[in-house]
Symmetry: C2
Subunit: 233 residues, 2 copies
Amino acid sequence: MRYNQPLPIATNTPMLSFVEENYLKAIYHLSEAGKRPVNTNALAEEMKTAPASVSDMIKRLSEKRMVDYQKYRGVNISEKGKIKALHVIRQHRIWKVFLVEKLNFQWDQLDEVAEQLEHIKSPLLFQRLDEFLGFPKFDPHGDPIPDENGQLIEKRKDPIAQLPVGTAGIVVGVNGSSASFLKYLDKVGISIGTRLQIVDRMEFDGSVDITIDGKKTITISPTVAENILLSEA
Amino acid sequence: MRYNQPLPIATNTPMLSFVEENYLKAIYHLSEAGKRPVNTNALAEEMKTAPASVSDMIKRLSEKRMVDYQKYRGVNISEKGKIKALHVIRQHRIWKVFLVEKLNFQWDQLDEVAEQLEHIKSPLLFQRLDEFLGFPKFDPHGDPIPDENGQLIEKRKDPIAQLPVGTAGIVVGVNGSSASFLKYLDKVGISIGTRLQIVDRMEFDGSVDITIDGKKTITISPTVAENILLSEA
DNA sequence: TAAAATATTTAGATTAATCGAAATAATAAT
DNA sequence: ATTATTATTTCGATTAATCTAAATATTTTA
Ligand SMILES: [Mn+2]
Ligand SMILES: [Mn+2]
Ligand SMILES: [Mn+2]
Ligand SMILES: [Mn+2]
């Protein structure tokens, strides 16, 4: 029985520690998927560590070819690093689906647990979990779940407020997550996956009539329309 | 967003690292629930580390009052340590139930993943998971799951070979877990939870006739009878 | 373009977890 | 009761991850 921490698993991508995985994920996000370099201080703030610690860690990740780095120039995620980051992000989002759909977690309780679960090393576990959840494509916040190869099906998601009358779509997320807003959504019967159609828009204030799942039609305020995200289904 | 490892949670029992949790669990098991002291070398073998590392770790656990320790005298788990160990064991076994019941894991794939999952820090997660699984009392190997307070409902489990003719019971586990044995059980339709009745025993070799779920009756070899564990239902 | 401000890296420590080798204690054998 | 064997601990190192303070580089501003 192997009790201790670092289980060697795959070796094409070297095994990373939890901490390294967290850094990579942060670099991926702060760089907007690798589009721009990330500053030491920005990373330090995101990771809540001292800039000196970030310098050390960046060197380590650079030796492992997870990032490209020239000092004082900021850090860029590498291809290998991106794949690894997307793996962790995939696992993070799959767990979130599980926590919400199966364990009825509130949206604000998700991250603390998903931050831990995302680091479990077991390809089999994630295959099975994915299957158990019906191969979800989006997490409960409407963020897309990368596939096993790190492919992101970036489906656009737009607030109702910005879509023309007549548009139908699936709710894939919300902006913000105040308890009262979520309670409201719950009350009117809207959740992730709900199909909505925009049937009218009041010009004078921007409030919108929507049909929920083809059944009932309600009017939502411009604020609500701004905060419900639809994907063009 | 808190990315990094040691999340401070409850503080009556101090937060332990994964490694410390694994040591405590090993001490608990090797001491047979605290009945006898555990030798340094035995622990080193169980943990697959050098005895020198064990000496170090024992001192650490002793400072945290998780064990009682006098050098050269072996280590005894403390009350606090026992509670902590039972928490980890609870979480380990709950995850195993999940992996088997929900994700269709094979028995031999369980430990590697459960060894990781057992260290997730989130009381809410385990409450919900427990509920989701219907508050199971035994794990897939038939081992009892301690409750939140560390109480173990020790139900006896006996091999078929040691039970009298006429006894009925639930399969709560098996001894060993060779792939071929598990395949055999699968073939004849026996798994955890299956109800068996002992209908006859051949005196000359100890093979046994059993009725499976009140449906079909088969004959099992003395070896098989030795390795299927029943609980008096 | 030189000084000031800001960003980043280096230097030097610390803590957890590990190891091998050497020292020491406990136990078993003669 | 010595001696030999075995078990355990101590010693001194190593690696990952962190920190503070000091040094250095870059960028901004005057
Ligand atoms: Mn350094
Ligand atoms: Mn994380
Ligand atoms: Mn030491
Ligand atoms: Mn473990």
